[in-house]
């Protein structure tokens, strides 16, 4: 199993949208190595021809009649927003400059 490098962890943090500080990165590389070594033992289980299990119960599709029901008012939906403008969620710019 390849070791997780500091660059790998930085890349994963970027993918997970967490702006880790240098100190956090240093600490996490060591901690993740210990955890990964332990969880990797799952590969030693006799799993050769085993069907993966994603859910504890058999899943069935659930539908409901397509009728209008009471729902949140715009005011309720926006009540927890960090910023609101003209009854909309106000967000930072979504495109990068380059």
């Amino acid at each position: 199993m390849p070791d997780l490098t500091r660059d790998d962890v930085a890349h994963l943090a970027m993918l997970a949208r967490i702006d880790l500080s240098d100190a956090e990165l240093d600490k996490m590389v060591g901690e993740l190595a210990v955890i990964l070594e332990s969880v990797a033992t799952v590969q030693q289980a006799p799993i050769g021809n085993v069907e993966p299990m994603s859910h504890p119960m058999p899943l069935v599709n659930v539908t409901r009649p397509d009728v209008v029901r009471p729902s949140l008012s715009p005011q309720q939906a926006l009540a927890g927003a960090p910023e609101v403008d003209e009854q909309r969620f106000s967000v930072p710019r979504i495109l990068d400059e380059d």
Binding site: M1, A13, M28, I35, V39, M53, P56, D96
Partner: protein, 507 residues
């Protein structure tokens, strides 16, 4: 009178309310007074709603005065773990990223509690997003074990376990993804059940790992746990994984307490090595009590349980990394602008917010999950874990052919010191070794007190596991064991807990 009121069981409180020996307002106020006196030391609550609880109590008192039909638990107050959405009450999940967030809706189980007329006293502390076994990962500071304030109350539901162990509430709601109801119950001398997956609606439960999460009841006795179980269980069209079948007859089973002819399976992999001597001793004694009550003991082997911890710590972070992606600083919760970037992009704001708003353990698990799901590693990690999960479910199915219930100690040790395992994530994870298999397979599990470990005088827990949708068996076995143990002890285990330091109540 007040101090005796809070020590009653929920069932006895319900009887006193029905007999009009006490009003719901008096009962609720007695618990609020107890909180004012002891929660400075215990820190079970993140938020107390005195006004709301008393208003709900008044509604019940008025209805009773008019002679209306009421739920058996109407007027019996309850505390709710801060991971359940409560309209009008803050819901933080123990995280800075949700500090001050007030949900615009109630979780289904909260609606059912309100419909039953149970005043909600407040929201209980927890490890951030339910990631932990000690409450030390709460952004708002840990809760303390009422048996020894220097020790952990278990986690993630340490707020709910300590709130009932310190008599601030007779009942509480917990959630259990890998043991977060059962392990806190074990280390505080209280009871708690993780129902069958899908037995209690997850609508309004802020998801950690959707295929593992299950909300359930916490209380001081097996019967009280059963009473609350039946309030919150049952089909909910708002949760697509909710089971559309009658609720198991938990209360009846708890009242009958009959184990004659039942086959009790001891799981070889969940006893002996790795379990503290006093924990094992109290477990062995409990099994002897069950034999005495007419049960038959069989030994079963579940070889794949050896891989449960590893499978769990791949599946949980994978699901969590996906579930927690919704905390993006856009629609609700914290928003932090990166320093020195006036014209930051949404992604930069998102990354700065998630760094500031999430604690270390949450970041660790999100990044581990991101890795386990990433291209090139998916099959080796997440895929392997899903296959091991199947082996574990198969082992349960096989074991339940020769046993009606399975039993083990709930946690490998008694409560450890706050701070002891904070810098060693793997050591913290090992606490859940006996509770995790049930979540992976979706089967129900209960923990109840089995005594005090002779070496440290701290509570030990006894775990019972049953096949899916046979939750009532937990209550039959738990109640039979509890009856024999309390007879041997001459009262409840919690009667032996030390008195807590109290602050003067200014009212």
């Amino acid at each position: 009178m007040t101090s005796e009121l809070v020590k009653l069981t929920a069932a006895a409180m319900a009887d006193a309310l029905t007999a009009r020996e006490v009003s719901a307002r008096e009962l609720t106020q007695a618990h609020l007074d107890r909180t004012a006196a002891v929660d400075g030391a215990v820190h079970s609550y993140l938020h107390v709603d005195a006004e709301g609880a008393l208003a709900a109590a008044d509604v019940v008192d008025a209805a009773r005065a008019q002679g209306r039909d009421l739920h058996r638990l109407a007027g019996v107050p309850i505390a709710v773990k801060d991971v359940m959405a409560t309209a009008g009450l803050p819901t933080t999940c123990g995280s800075r990223i949700l500090e001050g967030w007030v949900p615009p809706y109630d979780a289904t189980l909260v609606s059912r509690i309100k419909a039953a007329g149970m005043p909600i006293l407040g929201k209980t502390n927890m490890d951030e997003f339910a990631m932990g076994s000690s409450t030390e990962h709460s952004a708002y500071g840990p809760s303390h074990n009422p048996w020894d304030l220097e020790r952990i109350p278990g986690g993630s539901g340490g707020g709910s376990s300590s709130v009932i162990a310190s008599f601030q509430a007779p009942l509480a709601i917990g959630t259990d993804t890998g043991g977060s109801i059962r392990q806190p119950a074990a280390v505080t001398g209280t009871c708690g059940t993780k129902p069958t997956y899908g037995g209690v609606s997850r609508y309004g439960l802020v998801a950690l790992a959707s295929s593992l999460d299950q909300a359930g009841p916490c209380a001081r006795t097996v019967l009280d746990t059963a009473l609350l179980h039946e309030v919150i269980a049952g089909h909910d069209p708002l949760d697509s994984t909710s089971i559309d079948a009658p609720v198991p007859a938990c209360v009846t089973a708890a009242q009958r307490a009959d184990v004659r002819g039942m086959r009790i399976g001891i799981v070889r992999e969940l006893t002996g090595e790795g379990f503290q001597a006093g924990v094992q001793q109290r477990f062995d004694e409990a099994v002897a009590h069950l034999v005495d009550a007419g049960a038959e003991v069989v030994e079963v082997s579940c070889a794949s349980f050896t891989y449960a911890l590893a499978a769990y710590y791949l599946i949980l972070p994978s699901e969590a990394s996906s579930n927690l992606a919704k905390f993006d600083a856009m629609r609700y919760g914290l928003r932090v602008w990166p320093e020195g970037l006036e014209d930051a992009s949404a992604e930069q704001v998102m990354a700065a917010t998630r760094d500031a708003g999430f604690g270390d353990e949450v970041k660790r698990r999100i990044i581990l999950g991101t890795y386990a799901l990433s291209s090139g590693y998916y099959d080796a990690y997440y895929g392997s874990a899903q296959k091991a999960r199947r082996l574990i479910a198969d082992d349960f199915a096989k074991a339940f052919q020769s046993a009606d219930v399975l039993v083990s100690p709930t946690a490998p040790t008694t409560a450890f010191q706050l701070g002891d395992k904070l810098d060693d994530p793997m050591a913290m994870y090992l606490n859940d070794i006996a509770t995790i298999p049930a979540n992976l397979a979706g089967v129900p599990g209960m923990s109840l007190p089995s005594g005090l470990a002779p070496e440290d005088g701290l509570p030990t827990g006894f775990q019972i596991l049953a096949p899916a949708m046979a939750d009532e068996r937990l209550y039959a076995v738990g109640s039979a064991l509890e009856a024999r143990l309390t007879a041997a002890w001459g009262g409840q285990l919690l009667d032996r807990a030390p008195a807590l330091p109290t602050s003067e109540v200014a009212r």
